[in-house]
């Protein structure tokens, strides 16, 4: 597959919790090699969309194709194989608390591959360096890490199998501005070197400006607008206008 081809296609997605409809006929296409940012007000179902694409929640209607394949239709065994082709960073890293950082990174190696311990140790060390953690972090347990370090360690685990798609749920929430900026650079860097497609749910305007190729706005139970930052700035939709022209947006934009 080449860059620019659709890698995630969502068609006519409907999700609800009881009577509460979250998405109604939601369509979204993500192209290979791009960084797409999902924005929307609280409760518009950004995280639900992410979880639905990942197969953690069943859609009530509609079709989701990832890598051109309908994963929901696949037998369990086969789906597992494809799930290894993406990496997910959950909000607080979701590291396994009983394992050290290095062991966390090695979980997918142990589970899916047959590698020597020496090679696994080396790869864990490379991933740890890659996400900008100090080598000493390898032997620490998640409870001994700060929030920013946990996110980086979570990212290292998400990158363990060199995924094609990286899903990020609020990657910069709770980080200090320096840490958040470093995280933006890291994502940009990884996209360049590894050719990743990045699907990012975020509220951080700086991140949107710094890293995203396209932005999709969730509102009124669907994607109302998708395009570049410039498209967002031109939009006349009230919420989009307020979001991208508010005081914080102006400040973030002025810095660019």
């Amino acid at each position: 597959m080449r860059n620019g081809e659709p890698i995630i296609e969502v068609e006519g997605l409907v999700t609800r919790f009881g009577d509460n409809v979250i998405h109604e006929n939601l369509d979204l296409t993500v192209k290979r090699g791009e960084v797409i940012g999902i924005v929307g007000g609280s409760g518009t179902g950004k995280s639900v969309l992410l979880r639905t694409i990942l197969g953690l929640k069943k859609p009530d209607a509609g079709r989701i194709r990832v890598f051109g394949l309908d994963l929901a239709e696949m037998p369990e065994q086969e789906r597992r194989v494809h799930e290894r082709r993406w990496g997910v960073l959950f909000q607080d890293g979701a590291l396994f608390s009983s394992l050290t950082v290095a062991q966390n990174i090695q979980v997918p190696y142990r589970e899916h591959l047959q590698l020597s311990q020496a090679l696994m140790d080396e790869l864990a060390a490379v991933k740890i360096a890659m996400v900008g953690l100090k080598p000493e972090a390898a032997g620490l347990y998640p409870s001994e890490l700060s929030g920013g370090m946990r996110k980086r360690a979570g990212l290292a685990r998400a990158l363990a199998l060199d995924p094609e798609i990286l899903f990020l749920d609020e990657p910069t929430a709770g980080l200090d501005p320096i840490g958040a900026a470093a995280f933006d650079e890291l994502i940009e860097d990884l996209k360049e070197t590894l050719g990743l497609t990045v699907f990012m749910v975020t509220h951080d305007l700086d991140t949107l400006y710094a890293t995203c190729d396209r932005i999709a706005v969730l509102a009124e139970k669907r994607v109302i607008l998708i395009g570049t930052i410039d498209d967002m700035l031109l939009s006349r939709h009230a919420w989009v206008h307020e979001y991208f022209h508010g005081p914080r947006a102006r400040a973030a934009f002025a810095g660019k």
Binding site: A118, E122, M130, D162
Partner: protein, 415 residues
């Protein structure tokens, strides 16, 4: 299977390994449908040509198929051939990821360490970026899992355990002191007592435990009576079943059973409630608002349990006696009237008194252990679980130890 460029063939003596993963791994790419016409497995040809060590990498150098070539390259470096230069040829690599880059970058770095000049030939732009990225971080020291020799581990664990016991004992003593002073202040200023939480915990730890306590003590009473009747019948002394059941229940079993049930039910609940508040920083929030968590959380629970446990014990005693009475009726044909009369003859006030006097002490122990474990929860949800387990184990242990101490005391004072 390995890609061998025709031009590179047979110029030097060659050792070659092709990676053959297990079937499970072989299935990954095929079913994954990555790149039609699947790339060949990773392979690596090495050979020495005069002063030059040639390493030709070919095929799929992604993590899935990497292990055999990694072993091969490690073996090569363990016994390096005599050479001044090394050439690593990337031309025939079809797929490449950080893992492949890591193996080749490490090989190159180690060869450089041995004084060889290393050439990386025919790299694509993407491969160069990856190799640079890994080189930039330096080839990190692999993560070592240090483990001490066994005798040091054993000594260390024993020492750690002893130290922990000492620390826990000191901590508990401090906690008991703090609770006692807070209760003292509450007695001086009765308005400090939080009446609503006190009643709430009375209900939860006492009233709500009634069905369970009643059922269990009834059953145990029946079982003890039945076993006693069977054994005593052998001596023709089955009438003494009543003495057995009355004394054993009123003095020991009624209280012990109740205390153990309450430790499992309420002691653990105290730890979990206070622990999750501690975890969510609610307790710190209380302090910043000028509220004393001792007043708010600990004292109501301790006092509630001190009141509730004797009441529960009383009910438990009655239920145990009723259980025994039912068995007496069935097995010994003893009517309830006779049973009650025989119970009256068998027990004096202190038979009952001994049991009930112990109850407040047990209650205080359970509540203090539970609250203290809750207070020692640290940040993670895992520690709430660990402390809850610890609180239950510790309070049951202490309840039984306390009971043994009381038994010695009452023997000494002849009650």
């Amino acid at each position: 299977m390995a890609c061998r460029g025709p031009g590179r063939r047979a110029k030097w003596p060659r050792r070659q390994v092709e990676a053959r993963g297990g079937d499970g791994l072989a299935g990954i790419r095929n079913s994954a449908g990555r790149e039609a016409g699947a790339a060949p497995r990773a392979s690596c040809e090495t050979g020495v040509d005069g002063q030059t060590l040639h390493i030709v990498a070919a095929g799929d150098w992604s993590i899935v198929h990497l292990d055999p070539v990694d072993r091969q390259l490690r073996a090569l470096l363990a016994a390096p051939p005599a050479a001044r230069r090394a050439e690593i040829d990337f031309a025939a690599i079809d797929r490449f990821d950080t893992a492949g880059a890591c193996v080749l970058a490490r090989t190159a770095a180690l060869l450089r360490d041995r004084g060889l000049t290393v050439d990386l030939k025919n790299m694509s732009e993407a491969q160069r970026i990856l190799i640079d990225k890994i080189d930039a971080g330096g080839i990190p020291e692999p993560v070592r899992h240090l483990s001490e020799p066994l005798y040091i581990q054993v000594t260390a664990r024993v020492g750690e355990a002893v130290r922990a016991i000492g620390e826990e004992a000191m901590g508990m003593l401090g906690f008991v002191g703090a609770v006692v002073t807070t209760i003292g202040r509450t007695i001086v200023h009765p308005r400090r007592l939080r009446v609503v939480p006190f009643m709430h915990h009375m209900e939860k730890a006492g009233f709500d435990a009634l069905p369970l306590v009643c059922l269990l003590t009834f059953l145990i009473g029946a079982v003890v009576a039945q076993q006693g009747a069977v054994q005593l019948r052998q001596f023709g002394a089955e009438v003494f079943t009543v003495n057995l059941i009355a004394i054993i229940f009123l003095r020991e079993v009624g209280l012990l059973l109740t205390a153990i049930i309450v430790a499992g039910r309420s002691g653990s609940a105290f730890t979990a409630e206070i622990g999750s508040m501690k975890m969510r920083e609610e307790i710190d929030a209380m302090r910043t608002l000028g509220l004393d968590p001792m007043d708010m959380l600990v004292v109501p629970r301790v006092l509630a349990l001190i009141v509730a446990l004797p009441l529960l014990t009383f009910v438990a005693n009655i239920m145990g006696l009723i259980g025994g009475g039912v068995v007496a009726q069935i097995m010994l044909d003893m009517s309830p009237g006779v049973y009650i009369q025989r119970v009256q003859e068998a027990v004096g006030f202190w038979t009952f008194g001994v049991g009930i006097v112990k109850a407040p002490f047990m209650a205080a122990t359970i509540a203090l252990v539970g609250c203290r474990a809750g207070m020692s929860v640290t940040g993670s949800a895992e520690s709430v679980g660990a402390q809850t387990t610890r609180s239950v184990v510790r309070s049951i242990f202490l309840v039984i130890v306390l009971d043994a101490l009381f038994a010695m005391f009452f023997t000494a004072v002849d009650i």
